[in-house]
């Protein structure tokens, strides 16, 4: 019984911390974007504007929670929950330190892939249930993007699995004791990062929402906390992609001198900052460009990486 409570407490703490982190990330992103665009960003609420997200949250809670009369109501309400639920579920398998993880799943990597793919339903359902042509376009884009980028996202990770000999994220980190996988799996790292950006709809791959083309895509009709959930889900996605990349390619919690948790947080924060830098720097590709990058460049690269890794493994190099 005490065990159950311990687990529940751990889950509760992790969820709270993650949601607070996601909110903080919104502030961090705005400050960083400001830095790179030669302006300040939000700096009024609290020290350095750190409470900006709290202010936004208060505002968003008091907004009218409006469901358009032409929308498919149950699906419309369900859609924003999906992204948050799946992202939190996927974060459950992330080992923050050797001992701190919600579950130590032996198919952790597959679970992560499954959950991040399920998150696509959120945008698709949102786009469809809004009964709005722009939303539907956004949802369709999201579906097409998800299908094409999920393929090589999985493939790009197979090299890591081959090297570590396990789907368990903790064991993958432990297998990187001597050498981080970013060195032998550099191609895989690049492909995974691109695929991860596409999965979490981050710029430059935010075509499903593309404000300039299809207004806000799948969340055009959303307001209040339902919109807020999409927002939180997106930032949880960023955290997830960064954390998984750190675990798979950057040695997870490993590092000298500092305690494991600090190393993990440090690496993740740097990667998140890099993802934000990408947003500040890169323009959005056209949709057909996105598709051709996916199928004609990234998929062959992932396959090539897989082939080379497999050949080296067969030759007994590992």
């Amino acid at each position: 019984m005490a065990d159950v409570f311990r687990v529940l407490a751990q889950i509760g703490t992790t969820i709270t911390v993650l949601l607070v982190l996601a909110a903080l990330l919104i502030w961090a992103e705005r400050r960083l974007l400001g830095l790179w665009q030669d302006r300040l960003g939000p700096n009024r609420v609290g020290p350095f504007g750190i409470l900006q997200s709290v202010a936004d949250m208060i505002k968003i809670f008091f907004k009218e929670d409006w469901v358009p009369p032409f929308a498919e109501k149950p699906v419309f309400i369900f859609a924003p929950c999906v992204v948050v639920i799946t992202m939190l579920m996927a974060l459950a398998v992330v080992p923050f330190t050797p001992t701190l993880a919600i579950v130590d799943l032996n198919v952790g990597l597959l679970f992560f892939l499954a959950m991040s793919a399920l998150a696509a339903y959120s945008t698709i359902l949102a786009g469809w249930s809004s009964n709005n042509k722009y939303s539907l376009l956004g949802g369709m884009r999201s579906a097409a993007q998800m299908i094409s980028y999920d393929v090589f996202m999985g493939l790009s990770l197979m090299g890591v699995v081959m090297l570590a000999g396990s789907f368990n994220l903790r064991e993958i980190v432990l297998a990187q004791q001597g050498l981080w996988y970013i060195v032998p799996q550099f191609l895989g790292f690049l492909v995974f990062l691109v695929a991860g950006l596409a999965e979490s709809h981050r710029l430059p791959f935010d075509l499903p929402e593309a404000e300039h083309e299809i207004i806000a895509g799948f969340h055009t009709e959303y307001s209040g906390m339902k919109f807020g959930l999409f927002f939180v889900g997106e930032y949880l996605g960023v955290l997830l992609i960064a954390a998984i990349t750190v675990i798979l390619f950057l040695g997870g919690w490993q590092g000298p001198w500092l305690p494991p948790f600090v190393w993990f947080v440090l690496k993740t924060a740097l990667l998140v900052a890099f993802i934000i830098l990408l947003r500040a720097a890169l323009p959005r590709p056209r949709f057909d460009q996105l598709m051709s990058i996916g199928w004609k460049l990234m998929l062959p690269l992932a396959l090539l990486n897989l082939m080379i890794t497999g050949a080296v493994a067969l030759a007994g190099g590992l």
Binding site: A280, A281, L282
Partner: protein, 171 residues
């Protein structure tokens, strides 16, 4: 592809660039003397109102925020009976200043026009009138030329010739 990497690097270099933002309430930006801000009504060097209530400013105002009524004093000098500017409408375009034939209406570099009550943005003549001459220190419309309203005799204006006795031109 290379250009994308270069873009990322170029943007990253902006980490060390000082932001252009002026933190407004703490740090006031420089506003040029001819900045178009709050509207005032100025007086001539003698301390009299310059405004002759010709209505040109109200006519040219694109948002119709100026309302006034003309009246005359016993010497025939035109004045505004009331002069009202609704600053909640005003777009500070400065067309009224350009239209004004007497330099009465002028825009100032004060842009802090904030009120909690909308009604407080409606300025009456006594709020608009300042005691100085604004940007044009020596200009007095009635001293230049024109009719006698007690400022100068006919024909003694700065740009005015003596009145011609038209009958003396008769053959």
């Amino acid at each position: 592809m290379l250009s994308q990497l270069r873009t990322i690097w170029e943007v990253f270099k902006h980490s060390t660039v000082k932001p252009d933002t002026v933190s407004y309430p703490e740090e006031k930006p420089y506003l040029a003397p001819r900045y178009r801000g709050r509207i005032v009504l100025t007086r001539d060097p003698d301390g009299e109102e310059r405004c002759v209530a010709c209505n040109l400013c109200a006519a040219v105002c694109p948002v119709d925020c100026i309302a006034l009524q003309q009246t005359q004093d016993e010497r025939g000098r035109w004045r505004a009976e009331f002069f009202r500017i609704n600053f909640s409408r005003c777009i500070l375009c400065g067309l009224c200043e350009e239209a004004c034939p007497t330099y009465a209406i002028q825009l100032t570099p004060d842009v802090e026009l904030c009120e909690y009550d909308r009604q407080n943005l409606v300025y009456e003549k006594e709020h608009l009138l300042i005691s100085g001459t604004g940007k044009y220190h020596d200009y007095n419309f009635y001293r230049r030329a024109g009719k006698d309203v007690g400022v100068k005799e006919r024909g003694t204006g700065e740009t005015e010739a003596e009145p011609v006795n038209v009958r003396s031109l008769l053959p």
